[in-house]
Symmetry: C2
Amino acid sequence: MANRLGRQTVALEKPVYLVSHAAVGGKKEGEGPLKRYFDHLSDDDTFGQKSWEKAECQMQKLALQIALEKWGRTGQELDYLLAGDLLNQCISSSFAARESQVPFWGLYGACSTMGESIALAALLIDGGAARTAGAVTSSHFCTAERQYRNPLAYGGQRTPTAQWTATAAGCTILAQEGRGPRVTHITTGIIVDKGIKDANNMGAAMAPAAADTLAAHFRETGRDPSYYDLIATGDLGQLGREILLELTRDEGYDLTGCHNDCGLLLYDRQQQDVHCGGSGCGCAGSVLNGYLLRQMAEGTLKKILFCPTGALLSPTSTQQGESIPSIAHAVSIEV
Amino acid sequence: MANRLGRQTVALEKPVYLVSHAAVGGKKEGEGPLKRYFDHLSDDDTFGQKSWEKAECQMQKLALQIALEKWGRTGQELDYLLAGDLLNQCISSSFAARESQVPFWGLYGACSTMGESIALAALLIDGGAARTAGAVTSSHFCTAERQYRNPLAYGGQRTPTAQWTATAAGCTILAQEGRGPRVTHITTGIIVDKGIKDANNMGAAMAPAAADTLAAHFRETGRDPSYYDLIATGDLGQLGREILLELTRDEGYDLTGCHNDCGLLLYDRQQQDVHCGGSGCGCAGSVLNGYLLRQMAEGTLKKILFCPTGALLSPTSTQQGESIPSIAHAVSIEV
């Protein structure tokens, strides 16, 4: 039974373990600094499929399959599967889950989906509705680019504040029994919209949501940011990170020295031409399930606060002159 | 703490009450047989907004606002809000929730969303993570038509198997304390895809998912369909209902006499030119929160099994030759 600490944060009372995890990436991700932390990398971003959308779906299937293999069990041992992605009607997730035969909850949290899916999976296990659950998400540069921006062949110049959608997927398997780091607290995001309308500046749109959730987490748990070895936001990128540090400082919390962003970890910004950094559900999804959870297994990291951020816009809302509502969910994970 | 009865079904141990509910509809919904059960009907399908998408968002806001008013509390009393819709990136839900200041979980379950949101809300309350939660969804004929099919002005002829997307929204408020019918069991759907590729025949695509979830529910609870005063599927329409009755008969369950479909209840098919019936998240959402829950309050219905169905396709998946994965979640509600 979860213990409610405040408006947004609950502390789990029973152990919920991250018993397995897998990260899948494409060519560019395999050329970045986190290369060795991926479970599967493909030089071919089609992943052997006939369309980019089918490729993204295949990445989710691979992430789930590898995580199950590492766990040593099959999908039949999963009580629930929670998944979502950026594509219209979340088709990567639904089509990937089609053959899994696992009771399915479809989510939409944009790039916060890895946090949302782990959080809800942990709450369902803590609450007794499930013993095990899988959390999966993905993004693909080519599907996102043509859905949100321009046809790939158009070759438009990208703005300095733009980020690069990761071609990647991540899967976490959670269970009430087993070994691995534990989910201890969940701080659910409130939608924040500070009026940013530039769909090429997601970092600025999402930073206030991350600041809001992180401030709620510190306030409601009574923790200082320094409690954590690392506070990892999802995909704010360089500009978003700078805004986040400023906003949290105004709230009385100093993140300098304990914060990094998955969008900055995934690529080498000097070498890889990703402008402000990585983005997409698969960015935080693969950095958590590749790099961060391995660092926890190796003992390099003991306490992390994973806080992926989502920009809840669509091309239609942008065309209709709307600003960008954003959300961030924080999950505290400890060895 | 939920009690797991089988692969898909859990029984709630603590009472989770549906303490308030509201249904909002447009012009056509106000001309149908359920007219008097809506809390708010608008002759103007723009709901005073500048675009159909903003109108749909406004419907969700209204549904939440009215449900809160009927409950006699504000959004500050809601621990979580769970919402989703059919639009790309679920913008109706995110934009409607933007001002609510309630910790938010975004969902994507297509037309099964009313079931998914109530089910997850009930599980979060039963598990102790929340004391209260709101579940909201919507659809709009004009947003769905131009997103999934053709521009409205195109005026293409609709096929005989087509259904009419409801311009409607529904909101349920759940709480661990209060009065009202109770959620007793939840049967989570597994994605089912029998190869139907005709995006104008959703009933046929979704009926196997409904049959699968209902059979799991009866098998795992040991109940016969006749246990319920009404088994209400979401939006199978006339053809989908006929297929469902046949598929469940093959599994040994006779639904004749205790089944109806929200898509058949919402409109008068003889008078309203809706072809096979209603559809859209708002169809099951408004029929449950308008008609069905009022019938329960009046004592006409005592035990219902609410089982909305979702077709998890997108125009892109259809254009790429994919079939239509579908899902149905069942929620047992008793006075």
